[in-house]
Symmetry: C2
Subunit: 640 residues, 2 copies
């Protein structure tokens, strides 16, 4: 590896670089490699085998607090999780279900009695769990789950029921085969009153692996990818569990059925519950971005070796990456991968500080949730696009499973859906922006929301809490007007991203307020939906740019920093090019400037072309983990 | 089905609607349904079984001339092929290889001796063939294939050789298992002289299914999709075949080794050879578009039933298609599906007239090839996008194989690559446009091309041959300037599409001419590559719009025609929105007009929303062929 590549890799490895280095030692082992040729049965067995191999490495402990038998290094847990995506995404998701979702629910929603009983066994895989939130009828709107947990003071038990077909738990990883216990989200009812969604722990397998009385599990069957993950369904028919199985960190039901919670409203309790699970969303985004890095590493290395068409008679054929069109396919996606990697590192750091008690600012948790939602969207859609483009850029070879790209695509495809549908999450980001985190709006329907909008201030001020000093200084230095400024200056770039966001947020608020004056609230909301979604997306874009700029400052090596600066420019120019029409139409960019943006992308591609291999080295996927046979196959390259 | 849906379906069914109706009778049978759960071995066996079932229907005969035992209805063959994509894409590709590629090579490149010997058996599947053009080292630049066929007058045989690792035949459908014979493309050498690429027929299996002497077949293994297609590799080590195995329609080698051809240059002969195979490219585009129609039908029907989030307390949850964001996801893709369907019908009609000898205009064949390339690109990229969007729009349910979307995505993914990589084909379209079909340019490298550009006229006139009278009349009526005109007027829409194309072609020529004056020819070409590709794409867009307008005129039913008009508007507005920056920057659209485009898309979505089911009916996929379990599963919908 070049030393510049090494410097870039270290920068992108971020605060938990040691963890990533450790993973690079043990994850190239054959046991962790994905095998898309296995049938469903064999794939599931293999994923479980891989899980046990992972336990041997001590992988799972960082995710749990010391008093529960872990090491309590939250950031390390997420960084390690991202690295799994270099190896096998079935293993990644399987690990995420067991230790992240199920383990996370037990640790964060349960109390000591649950920790003592479950956590050590679940770390060691003596206990296999699943996370049963989604139902057939409700995936995005989980406040409306239909499963009920009704308290019976006579026996001091909860009675769990699936009252309708649509209340069936669905898509639950582990439920089809391996999990013996489930963290089940259900409407808690006691003394005839419902208190909203709570989580209870329910055995879903008997000693022989069959369904316990009242429990009916079934199999979701073959999927688009993630063959090693045994997604299943669960129905409950008056299943009785002890009162103690309620994960009672935020609410308790007394023996006599009295309901008690320190959090006053059902809504607030629900969102507090969801908030503790934010690590799952952050992990999924990170894993998707990691998968994109694998795909881009494969496609770029291929493009540096594969030749096609001669530029002139008697000259050797060009390598694919010599073509501008091919550079434009891959290099901007590499630039965005760097951008997202830096943003993810910062997000993980923020989460780590909050979840280890080092940041107790009450606003911080909610800001984290918004940012986690936004980056999950950006990273998973990026992965879908980058992997697709990588596959196409490798032609027929890219379609063979031995070259891995199709498996990456198939396995990550659902990442835009699970842990929050991307469109719904983008809307969530926008609502948080538009309402400045107003507490009451979180479970508003469209009608409530339009009513609320009527009361909103006309001028929502952009949240600047995330902007560290260096960024602020850049802003302050930006004395030239954007129209006149040099697009390669960071201050000008930042201003453009910030201006777009401010404008979209301000005008979205205006639209909603105007809409509020008219009759049909849903229609008013709906008519503005594309506007609102764009406001959310533009906010995410700004955050990503800020983190990119921030991260570059930390690169000591001059050559590496210079390349990172060029990458940042390419990221900015590509984003501006994609939204050029908006910038022109809203007078933030002249036509001449806009034309320069396209030329700029081409020039930046040309400037980065000689560094392509270095850029790939910096992405941080070890060559031993690429596992694409074409990269070492003389047949696909020219004879000498 | 609504009567309006029926009228739309008939319009989209086009000139070969009877064939499509026949297919709708027999293709819903279980034997033709895709089964993504099968392992490679079982999937291949099933595909072969399906092929035999297809023979029973008489499916294959339309593709071959009457004197060879077929019915000679070329258009019917392609329309029927498209319909297979509703059922199973492995079967589709398998059929395409056998009857389209292999059968097509034998019929179109061979002569009577080959027809008599092979065609009846290959129609009946007594003979299974494959089409061995692509090599590991050359996929796009097939003129540079390395396999050699050297004539030995001593034995009157050709000696077939794979002289290098990269000359290995690769990705060949049928070569791994089922095919016993191959149409092999190789450099023909006789009397010490090479005459370029020719096609010879070579047995690749002995009676026991093993490799004959000198032939080494191997398996490409697991792929991203199309599990039923047994793609393989072939190497030849001095394999001897009789002289008569040369498919000798365009060239003959006499017994003594004398080479004889009516076509003077190697290049011209090569492109004539490729030109006869244009049906494959047309078929692939049509099948991709058909797969997109299946996906959009599933996703839209789901969006009309699946509910999530209430608009207000005590109101029922909205169906997904009530949301503007969801309308914007699906309806423009439906509009584009109509656009492409009409364009494909016209393309097939043009091909039919040429290949049945009803159109003998010497220019027509080359115009057909350009149009086939362009529509293949448009349709296959549309399929990739539409199926991906459909999957995401169905959330977790969309990821289950039982709901089919992931299989459609995986199976069609390689359509953007095979029968011509989409980027390479777009460039081919552009070159044809820029050089006005100059004969000599077809095998030019970048350097030749830049030299040629220096001689080009500064003003390339847009080819209008495809524009029928109605379109011309519209143009002529377009007396208002575009800037002032109403964007909902067809004349204005056409003018915008045509102006964009003219401008891009003219300026591309200028750029190349300027580049020709400087030193590095490849660099000059490469710097303009994105410009050239955009010129190609804009040409394709114009053709598609013209065919849409043309097709609407033929719809008799008033309600159906009204809906088609709105769909056409949505197609136009969506395309304009996607390229708004270009139109503004080149002063073809004012900022105010551009803003109206976005509003227009929203309004057109709203206008079409009530007709969503009708639109889906019109797409023409019978409900019995959707085979997505969620469409009939109460669990995923709300309880009443």
């Amino acid at each position: 590896m070049t030393s510049t590549g090494q410097y870039l890799r270290e920068a992108l490895d971020g605060p938990w670089k040691e963890v990533r280095e450790q993973c690079r030692e043990y994850l190239p082992a054959d046991i962790f490699a994905s095998d898309p040729t296995l049938d469903t049965k064999a794939a599931r067995a293999r994923a479980l085998e891989q899980m046990h191999a992972l336990v041997e490495t001590g992988y799972a402990e960082s995710g749990f607090r010391q008093e529960n038998g872990g090491t309590g290094d939250v950031g390390a847990a997420v960084a390690g999780f991202e690295m799994l995506a270099y190896a096998d995404l079935s293993l990644t998701v399987k690990a995420g279900v067991q230790w992240g979702l199920f383990g996370g629910a037990v640790e964060n929603l349960g109390t000591k009695r649950h920790h003592d009983k479950y956590i050590r066994p679940l770390i060691n895989l003596d206990l296999l769990g699943c996370f049963a939130m989604t139902e057939s009828g409700h995936g995005s709107d989980v406040q409306q789950l239909e499963t009920t947990a009704t308290y019976d003071p006579g026996t001091q038990e909860f009675v769990i029921n699936s009252p309708t077909p649509s209340s069936r738990k669905d898509y639950i990883g582990g439920a089809a085969e391996h999990a013996t216990i489930a963290a089940v989200f259900a409407q808690l009812i006691t003394e005839g009153e419902s208190h909203g969604v709570h989580c209870v722990v329910i055995p879903i397998r008997d000693e022989n692996g069959g369904d316990p009385p009242g429990v009916t599990t079934s199999d979701c069957g073959h999927k688009g990818g993630l063959g090693g993950v045994d997604n299943g369904r669960i129905m409950f028919d008056n299943v009785r569990i002890p009162r103690e199985n309620l994960l009672n960190r935020y609410a308790e039901v007394e023996e006599d059925g009295t309901y008690r919670s320190e959090i006053e409203t059902d809504s607030r309790r629900f969102f507090t519950t969801l908030g503790t699970l934010v690590r799952g969303r952050i992990s999924v985004g990170g894993a998707a971005a990691a998968a994109a890095r694998v795909a881009l590493s494969i496609a770029t290395r291929y493009a540096l070796k594969r030749r096609q068409f001669r530029p002139a008679k008697d000259e050797p054929e060009n390598v694919l990456l010599d073509y501008l069109a091919h550079q434009r396919r891959l290099l901007p996606l590499i630039a965005k991968s760097y951008a997202l990697g830096f943003a993810q590192n910062d997000l993980v750091r923020k989460m780590h500080l909050i979840q280890t008690g080092q940041n107790t600012d009450p606003e911080a948790q909610r800001a984290l949730e918004k940012r986690a939602a936004g980056l999950k969207v950006a990273q998973t859609w990026h992965a879908t696009r980058a992997i697709q483009e990588s596959r196409e850029a490798c032609g027929g070879a890219g379609y063979l499973s031995e070259n891995r790209l199709v498996t990456l695509k198939a396995d990550t495809d659902v990442f835009t859906t699970f842990e929050g549908d991307n469109t719904v999450l983008t809307q969530l980001v926008a609502k948080e922006l538009l309402t400045s985190y107003a507490d009451e709006v979180r479970d508003y329907d469209a009608t409530d929301w339009i009513r609320f909008a009527a009361t909103m201030a006309g001028d929502v001020v952009r949240e600047r809490s995330g902007v560290r000093q260096m960024i602020q200084t850049l802003f302050d230095r930006g004395d030239e007007s954007v129209e006149e400024g040099d697009l390669s200056k960071r201050a000008v770039q930042l201003q453009l991203f910030a201006d777009r966001e401010d404008y979209l947020v301000r005008t979205a608020v205006q639209r909603l307020r105007n809409g509020a004056k008219n009759g049909d609230a849903f229609k008013a909301f709906n008519n503005a939906q594309d506007h609102i979604l764009k406001a959310g997306a533009s906010h995410i874009d700004r955050l990503i740019l800020e983190e990119f700029i921030d991260a570059i400052e930390l690169i000591q090596d001059e050559e590496a920093r210079k390349i990172a600066e060029t990458l940042c420019d390419l990221y900015v120019f590509t984003e501006l090019e994609a939204d050029r029409d908006w910038f022109i139409m809203h007078r933030f960019m002249s036509v001449e400037r806009a034309k320069a943006v396209r030329r700029g992308v081409n020039e930046l591609c040309e400037a980065l072309r000689p560094h392509a291999l270095t850029l790939v080295e910096g992405l941080g996927v070890p060559e031993s983990m690429l596992r694409a046979s074409m990269l070492n196959d003389a047949n696909v390259y020219e004879r000498e």
